[in-house]
C-alpha cells in the first residue's frame, strides 16, 4: 500500500520539480555549473608558477642549472641578501626565500610564508624535490670516478671472459673433431679386420687346395714312375731275346718309355715350380695379413691415445667453465656496484619516504615528478570534493523538496487521506535521490576523465556507498525541513549544518588534531566514514569486503537519521495548531 501510494507522489513531486524552471535552474543547472567551474578551475598541471626569491652565496651550486630545473613551477628573483627577500616576502610578493650558502656541505635554508597555508606546503615540497634532485646529481658526480674505475675493471673482466668463452668454444670444436676421428678410425679398423679375416680364410683355402694337389701330383708321379720302372724291367727282359725286329720294337718301346719318363719328370718339375710359386704368394699374403693385423693394433693404440687427449681436453674445458663462472660472479658483483645509488655511497644512512599510492607517470625529470605530485594531490582532493557536493546537493535538494511538499497547497489534501504518513515521507526521499544522483554521476564522470581515477572499474563498490551517503544527507535535509518548516529558516539552518559538517567531517580540520571525544564522533561521522570508504576504493581498488565496516556504519547512521526525520515529521505533521 505504501509503495502504491508512494509512486504517484514521487511522480507528482518530480513532475512538479521538472516543470518549475526556477527549481531546475537553482537546484540542477546551477549546481552543475558550479561543479563544472570547480572542476575546470583545478589545474592538472599543478600550481601555477610561484614567485620565490633566491640568495645564492655558494659557488658549489650552479644557479643556471637550479633555475632550469625549477623553471616549470618557480619564478626566481635573485636577492643580494636574505633580509631584502624576507621584507618582500612580508609584503606578499615571493612565497619563499631560498638562501643557498656554504661549500662543504652546501646548506639550503628555505624561509617560507606559512600564512599561505596550504599552498605553501606544496611550494616547499617542490623546492625540496628540486634540491633533492640537485643533491642527487652532486652525489652522482662525486661517486662517478669511483664508479668509472669499477666500470673499467668490469670491462676487463668482460673482455677476459669473452676470450675464455672463445677458448672454451675452440676446445669444444677439438673434442668434436677428436670424436669424429675416433669414429673414423674405428670404422677403418673394423673394415681392415674384416678384410684380414677374409684374407686368412682365402690363404687357408689356397694352402689346403695346394696340399691336396701336391699330394695328388706326388701320388701320380710315384705311380707313373713305378709303372715306368716296371716297363723298363720288362724291356730289359725282352732285350734277352735276340731278334732284330723284336729288338727294334723293344728299342722303340724303350725310347717311348724314356720319353714318357722325361715328360713325367718335366711335368713333375713344372708342377713343383708352380707349387713353389703358390707357396711364395701365400707367404706374401700371410705377411700382408700379419702387417694388417699390426695396423689394426696401431689403430687401437691411436684410438686409445685420442681418447686420452679428449679426456684431457674435457678436463681443460671443465677448468675453463669454472673460471668463466668465477668471472661471471665477479662481473655480477661489479654490476651491482653500478646500480648503487651514489647517495648511498656517499651517505651511509639514507632515509627514503615512499608514498604507497603513486599513479604511474612517464619520465623521471623534476617536472615529471612535480606533475605526478600534482595529480596525486588532485586525486586525493577528489573524494572530499565529491562529499562536499553530495552534502550540498543532498541537504539542499531534500530540504527544498520537503518544504515544497509540506508547504504545497496540495499538502492539506494529501494529509486528509488516511495512511499518507510513510508514502509522503518516502516520496520526498525517492524524489530527492533521483534528482541528486544525476549531478553526482556527472561529478564521478569528471573524476574519471579529469582526475584519472578508477571510478568506472570500481563502480559496483562505489554505488552502495554513494547511495548510503546520499541517503544520510537527504534524511538530514528532510529532518531539518520537517523540524523548521519555513523555507528561509530551513535554508539558513542548512547552511550552518553544512559548515558544521565540513569542519566536523575532517575535510578542513583534520580529525587527528581534535580532542579525543570530538575526534571519535568526527571519526564515525557519515562524511568521514564515506570519505574513508571512497579513499579505499578509489586509490587502492579495495573490494566490497574491505568497505563492509563503512557500509555497516553508514547503514546505522542512515537508520538513526531516518528515525529522527520520521519523528520530526510526526511531531510537525497535521493536525497541528497554526
Amino acid at each position: 500500500m505504501i509503495r502504491i501510494r508512494t509512486i504517484p507522489l514521487v511522480e507528482a513531486s518530480l513532475k512538479g520539480f521538472a516543470r518549475n524552471w526556477k527549481s531546475i535552474l537553482l537546484l540542477v543547472i546551477s549546481p552543475l555549473l558550479f561543479i563544472s567551474v570547480i572542476f575546470l578551475s583545478f589545474n592538472p598541471e599543478g600550481l601555477r608558477k610561484i614567485p620565490v626569491g633566491v640568495i645564492s652565496n655558494s659557488p658549489a651550486v650552479d644557479m643556471d642549472e637550479f633555475t632550469q630545473i625549477t623553471n616549470s613551477f618557480l619564478t626566481i628573483s635573485n636577492y643580494g641578501n636574505l633580509d631584502d627577500c624576507v621584507v618582500r616576502l612580508k609584503q606578499y610578493y615571493p612565497y619563499a626565500c631560498i638562501d643557498i650558502h656554504g661549500m662543504d656541505p652546501v646548506v639550503v635554508d628555505v624561509y617560507y610564508d606559512n600564512t599561505r597555508d596550504p599552498v605553501i606546503w606544496e611550494v616547499v615540497q617542490n623546492i625540496k624535490r628540486s634540491v633533492d634532485y640537485l643533491q642527487e646529481q652532486k652525489s652522482k658526480e662525486m661517486a662517478s670516478d669511483f664508479l668509472n674505475q669499477f666500470s673499467s675493471r668490469k670491462n676487463l673482466v668482460s673482455s677476459f671472459r669473452s676470450n675464455l668463452q672463445e677458448t672454451n668454444s675452440n676446445v669444444d670444436t677439438y673434442i668434436y673433431k677428436i670424436d669424429e676421428s675416433i669414429v673414423d678410425l674405428r670404422e677403418a679398423k673394423t673394415d681392415l679386420s674384416q678384410t684380414i679375416v677374409q684374407m686368412d680364410r682365402d690363404i687357408e683355402e689356397v694352402e689346403t687346395e695346394k696340399n691336396r694337389l701336391e699330394h695328388d701330383k706326388n701320388a701320380f708321379y710315384y705311380e707313373t714312375t713305378s709303372t715306368l720302372n716296371t716297363l723298363d724291367s720288362a724291356v730289359d727282359s725282352m732285350k734277352m731275346i735276340e731278334d732284330p725286329y723284336y729288338n727294334s720294337m723293344v728299342y722303340m718301346i724303350e725310347q717311348d718309355i724314356a720319353e714318357m719318363r722325361n715328360e713325367v719328370e718335366d711335368y713333375n718339375d713344372e708342377v713343383d715350380d708352380y707349387f713353389d710359386t703358390v707357396e711364395l704368394r701365400v707367404a706374401g699374403y700371410k705377411e700382408s695379413s700379419n702387417k694388417g693385423k699390426g695396423y689394426v693394433n696401431d689403430i687401437d693404440d691411436n684410438v686409445e691415445e685420442l681418447e686420452g687427449t679428449k679426456q684431457d681436453l674435457e678436463d681443460y674445458k671443465e677448468e675453463i667453465d669454472d673460471a668463466d663462472a668465477e668471472l661471471a660472479q665477479v662481473e655480477e658483483e661489479l654490476s651491482e656496484i653500478d646500480k648503487v645509488n651514489p647517495e648511498e655511497l656517499i651517505n651511509p644512512i639514507v632515509v627514503y619516504n615512499n608514498p604507497v599510492y603513486e599513479p604511474t607517470i612517464a619520465g623521471s625529470k623534476v617536472s615529471d615528478v612535480v606533475k605526478m605530485a600534482n595529480l596525486v594531490s588532485l586525486q586525493i582532493m577528489f573524494p572530499k570534493v565529491l562529499l562536499l557536493i553530495v552534502m550540498f546537493l543532498a541537504l539542499l535538494i531534500s530540504s527544498y523538496l520537503t518544504l515544497q511538499e509540506i508547504n504545497s497547497t496540495s499538502n492539506i489534501r494529501i494529509n486528509m487521506i488516511e495512511g499518507m504518513f510513510f508514502p509522503e515521507f518516502f516520496s520526498v526521499y525517492i524524489s530527492s535521490i533521483i534528482i541528486v544522483i544525476f549531478p553526482i554521476l556527472i561529478v564521478l564522470g569528471l573524476g574519471q576523465v579529469l582526475f584519472k581515477l578508477a571510478i568506472i572499474q570500481n563502480f559496483h563498490v562505489i554505488l552502495p556507498i554513494l547511495l548510503l551517503m546520499v541517503s544520510v544527507f537527504i534524511m538530514m535535509g528532510i529532518s531539518i525541513a520537517f523540524l523548521v518548516r519555513k523555507k528561509s529558516i530551513t535554508l539558513l539552518v542548512n547552511s550552518f549544518i553544512l559548515v558544521f559538517l565540513i569542519f566536523f567531517s575532517g575535510f578542513l580540520q583534520p580529525i587527528e588534531k581534535m580532542r579525543a571525544i570530538f575526534g571519535f564522533f568526527s571519526f564515525i561521522s557519515a562524511g568521514n566514514v564515506a570519505l574513508s570508504a571512497f579513499n579505499k576504493i578509489l586509490f587502492y581498488s579495495q573490494g566490497f569486503v574491505s568497505v563492509l565496516p563503512e557500509i555497516i556504519i553508514l547503514g546505522i547512521i542512515l537508520f538513526l537519521v531516518m528515525i529522527s526525520a520520521l519523528l520530526f515529521k510526526k511531531m510537525r505533521d497535521y493536525p497541528f495548531v497554526d
Binding site: 497547497t409 496540495s410 489534501r413 488516511e418 497535521y574 497541528f576 497554526d578
Partner: protein, 243 residues
C-alpha cells in the same frame, strides 16, 4: 446510502480566541452555510471538521447507514485557496489524488470525464493548474475534491473572487450534489445565496456558534424578514446578539 454528519459541542482554539458551542446535525441533501464576519473563525471550524485541526473539546462523527465511519473516508474538502499540485495538469492532479485514494485507473478516468463535463473543465484537462484562471482553479479543486465520491463536501469560501455567473454555476452544481444525497458545508459571505440555496445555517459571532434553530429564533426575535436581512443587520449595524 444514508449519510449523517454530527458536531457535538465543539470548542476550537485559534491563536488568541476560541469558537465554542459548535453543534449541528446534517443529513443527506443538507446544505449548510457558515457565515460570520471576517476572522470570526469560519475557516477554523472547517479545518476542525475536515480533521486538519484538532478541537479542544467535543466530537465530530459521521455515519453511513447508521454506521460510524472515519471522517477522511467520507469528506471531500476544498480549501479557500486551491489545494492542487500547481505544476501538474488538471488530469495529472485528478490521477494522482485518485491513486492516493486507492481508486483504479479506469474508475478514475470515468469519474474524471464525468466531473470535468459537469464542471465545464474538459478543455482545461491538459493545462497546468498555474495556467488556469481563478474560477477554473476553483472548479478544478472541486473536481479533485470529488474524485473519491465523498458523501460530505466541505468548502471554505468557494466563491471568493468569482463572478456572479460562476457563483451561480457552482451553487447549482452543489445543489445537484445535495440532491444526489451528499451533505454540503460551506463558508461564505454571500448572504443572499445562503438564503437561497442553504437549508441549514451556522453563524459564528463573538466566539460562539449559532445553529439553524437559534438563527431562525433570532430572526423572529428581531422581527427581521428573513435570515439574510437578519444577518445583514447583524453585520452592518454591529447588532449585539445574545442567546
Amino acid at each position: 446510502m444514508k449519510v449523517k454528519f454530527l458536531a457535538k459541542d465543539l470548542t476550537i482554539s485559534y491563536k488568541n480566541f476560541k469558537v465554542s458551542h459548535v453543534s449541528f446535525e446534517l443529513n443527506e441533501g443538507d446544505i449548510m452555510g457558515l457565515v460570520g464576519r471576517s476572522g470570526a473563525g469560519k475557516s477554523t471550524i472547517i479545518k476542525s471538521l475536515v480533521g486538519i485541526k484538532k478541537q479542544d473539546n467535543g466530537e465530530i462523527i459521521a455515519f453511513l447507514d447508521d454506521k460510524k465511519i472515519p471522517l477522511n473516508k467520507l469528506i471531500g474538502y476544498s480549501p479557500q485557496s486551491n489545494s492542487l499540485y500547481p505544476y501538474l495538469t488538471l488530469q495529472e492532479n485528478l490521477e494522482v489524488f485518485g491513486k492516493l485514494y486507492g481508486i483504479d485507473q479506469l474508475t478514475i478516468e470515468k469519474r474524471m470525464e464525468y466531473y470535468l463535463k459537469r464542471l465545464d473543465l474538459k478543455k482545461c484537462k491538459g493545462h497546468k493548474i498555474i495556467e488556469l484562471s481563478g474560477g477554473m482553479q476553483k472548479r478544478a479543486d472541486l473536481a479533485v475534491s470529488l474524485i473519491h465520491k465523498p458523501k460530505i463536501i466541505i468548502m471554505d469560501e468557494p466563491f471568493a473572487g468569482l463572478d456572479l455567473s460562476l457563483q451561480k454555476f457552482i451553487w447549482e452544481f452543489l445543489e445537484d450534489l445535495a440532491k444526489e444525497g451528499s451533505i454540503i458545508i460551506l463558508s461564505t459571505h454571500m448572504l443572499m445565496d445562503v438564503q437561497q440555496y442553504c437549508n441549514k445555517f451556522g453563524l459564528i459571532e463573538k466566539g460562539y456558534f449559532y445553529g439553524t434553530d437559534e438563527i431562525k429564533k433570532a430572526v423572529k426575535q428581531y422581527k427581521e424578514k428573513d435570515i439574510q436581512s437578519f444577518l445583514k443587520t447583524l453585520f452592518s449595524k454591529d447588532l449585539i446578539y445574545n442567546r
